[in-house]
Symmetry: C2
Subunit: 136 residues, 2 copies
DNA sequence: TTCCTTGCAAAACTTTTGCATTAAA
DNA sequence: TTTAATGCAAAAGTTTTGCAAGGAA
């Protein structure tokens, strides 16, 4: 994805395209992936980008608030961000912590509860925890 | 639930029944509920129990490891523990943070993905995020 | 005695915030 | 010139850990 395309996507979400935001978006959106703030910062530093930790956190929250990325709750320890905002689910390897996408058609709900009165469903987060199979 | 019954449940999970663990279990298991470590500590202190923060965390991790309670990942901020270990799902009010149980029969999966080779499903965590409905 | 548990405090880790500086509109 | 974004460091919040003291087997 070119810088111009990234800038366009930011603009489409009402986000000013600063140098740091472009670098951060370039990493996040290069490939569908799941990253923590620390991992993202490490990659940016490795790439030679001049970005501070505060800006990484601020930018992740900004992007998430504007729907450019999706925050995930897979462990209670730290926040994860998914650069794929299309509906989908996740496998979570308990031991390694690895996250793998599960495409929507792989899961079918034949029944879902109606939300309580006055409420509507904002999203469905499904995490299938995996462990090593006994015989494996 | 009497002290003796609580001690029995601990024993059934291979947990030595110390004074602090009994107090902690008494709070957790009194009613099916969702608690954070800090909330649990606050309640214990309010009840006049002599328990330290470290013991609360250690005990929660011990209980979770032995299957007496279930850790929940509903936000990336802190860990939640559910005293109901029977399979079930959750509504999560984004605004207030409130957690509500969704009984198993309320959700039916007509299709679930097969786990990757050598892996088995350890659990399914389903969180339905709720927001205020526009007209409400 | 021996082993396990607890409390306290400190440390580790994740995330947010205050504020001066810099960059952009 | 006015506003917004950034970096740095400090602070805040959550969880873990080291270690001495206490309690149970």
């Amino acid at each position: 994805m070119s810088i111009a395309e990234i800038a366009e996507r930011l603009a489409a979400h009402g986000i000013q395209p600063t140098a740091q935001r472009l670098r951060i978006a370039a990493v996040l959106l290069s490939v569908p992936q799941h990253l923590s703030a620390e991992q993202l910062l490490a990659q940016l530093v490795a790439d030679g980008a001049r970005v501070s930790k505060a800006t990484v956190y601020n930018t992740l929250n900004l992007f998430a608030g504007r729907g450019l990325i999706r925050p995930l709750s897979v462990d209670g320890v730290r926040a994860w961000f998914d650069s794929n905002v299309e509906p989908h689910y996740h496998f979570h390897d308990i031991e390694s912590g690895a996250l793998t996408d599960v495409a929507v058609p792989e899961v079918q709900f034949s029944r879902l509860p109606a939300p309580p009165a006055g409420m509507e469903v904002a999203g469905i987060e499904l995490v299938i925890r995996l462990r090593k199979a006994p015989g494996a």
